[in-house]
Amino acid sequence: MNKLLARITALVLAATAGAAFAQQDPAALAQGVCSACHGPDGHSISPVFPNLAGQQPAYITLQLFAFRDHRRGDPNAQAYMWGMASQLSDDTIKALATYYAAQKPAPGQPGASALMAAGEKIYTQGVPAQGVPACATCHGAQGLGDKAFPRLAGQHVDYLVAQLEGFKSGTRSNAPIMLAVARTLTPEQMRAVATYASSR
């Protein structure tokens, strides 16, 4: 039996040494590492972690650079992404962005009708009295995003709310436009507009 144990151990060690080096292959990296939080194919389970499937590649690239350079410092960015992005090369970042952009996005789920109605108003018309512009102007009528403006459709409501709170409190300060937009939003307005944007 001792011999058997020794043989199995030797086999394990041999298999380990021969493991393919896949660190720079975006699909392998996404499925082997990123998927632990962001889910297989960029569909996450917990709303702490954003869905990445179908996200704008320019936005993903910008965020990964911001994590790597410690320019995006909201609590979860520091806790998770500063470490994860620290050793990524520019090329790997771009390849990951392309990979996730090509995945099928999560479908939006409508929320409670009162929230949806209030959210739609803010999303399409803004809140002029508070100086809040319409979200649709940059993120698009269907929340699909455009280049540096992220896709919001199908994103977790709690994640969107957490980002708006981060912009308002200043913990996430790598988006100057959003710092101005979120400055006057109330928690109720954040929840409403996030529910609507997510549902697209």
Binding site: M1, L5, I8, T9, V12, L13, A15, T16, A17, G18, A19, A20, F21, Q23, Q31, G32, V33, S35, A36, C37, P40, D41, I45, S46, P47, V48, Q78, A79, Y80, W82, G83, M84, S86, Q87, A162
Partner: protein, 455 residues
Amino acid sequence: MKMQSKCGSFFALLAVACSALLLAPDNAQAVPSFARQTGMACEACHTVFPELTPFGRRFKLNGYVIDNLQQVSGMNTSKEQTLALNQLPPLSMMFQTSYTQTQTAVPDSAVSGAQAKNGQVLFPQQASLFYAGRIAPNLGAFVQFTYNGASGSFGWDNTDIRYAKMVNDHFLWGMSFNNNPTVQDLWNTTPAWQTPFDQRSSTAPSRGATTMIDGGLAGAGVAGLSAYASWDNAFYAELGAYRSAPAAAVIDSTSKNVVNANAPYWRLAYERQWDRQSWEVGAYGIDANLYPGGGVALTGPTNRYRDWAADSQYEYIGDEHLFTATATYIRENQTLDASYATGASSNLRNNLKTLRLGASYFFRRTYGAALGYFSTAGSADALLYAPALFSGYGNSRPDTKGWTAELDWVPYENTKLALQYTNYSRFNGAANNYDGSGRNASDNNTLYLLGWINF
């Protein structure tokens, strides 16, 4: 209340613990080896250490290999990676200091009729050095080397060296080489990492009878190899075997509870994750044939211990509120051919049943409270469970029951202060005069203050 008269000692220890806090780093990172390697804060893998989050379970399942440090690399001509060594080793330290007080002092170890000092300070209770992290592309290790304050000795503690390979998006398999059945497990219901109350006083009285899976085998010294597989992070299956591997090199009649050949171990679990919640239900067990040893040669009949257990864990991890509930039930069927033959037990067959229920709540991972119930019960055996001052059994039964409550303060992610109270309604078989020498179960009620830092 006797307890109140000792308040002064508590404040003294609190002062010690608080001064220890001042030494903690500003940017706190828990289970610091892993934090150093991954660049992620403790909260990524732990709700509050040592309890794991779903990501923490995934990190362990993957062989501790997620790594964001500068590497010393090697590659062969087929572009296969032959080396991936962290430029700096992921080392860390753990330090625990504690204060323990029992409702009635325990008997003096040498002078008959006298009592030991009550109110025991251990500084340290335990101090550990860890190597924890990746050691090769698909190979990782969690190795703990510990100084135990109660015994005053250094020794190997929990060790789990594992290989893991992701085959595709859904399927992962791996192997674990470890020295404690369930130390390789992913959930905090199993004996090695049970929460809440993963830490208890090492000087307070503890129940006499435990099942083999619940620390009995680990205490005797074992090494095990198991293979595991995971599908979609939902289904988990593991099969392995343990052999005797006590610290002393030669296993002979002086060793105790020596495994005859191999003791198979198995584990099945299902976990569902949704939103911020996860729920696990599972079962595990071991089948061990043991030579009692302890002066008897390792030949002839053995004692057979067949353990099976069912467990379940629920976790809610919010930004503000965190809640965990755990449940474990262990049943052990013993066929004591060896002990019965030598007159060490009065029955050929006995059983032991352990139930543990626990719930904990944390606010912002900082302020916490936990409550738990524990019970071990089994068949009466006059020889196996014999009377003896303090540690014996007065009425031939192994039963121990009670509850534990704990308050926690986690000022930094890597620093915990815990105040714990354990109340026994039954100890080693009885509520009153449990040892046959007049000691009651409630005399063992324990107040325990723990300061715990990892850096």
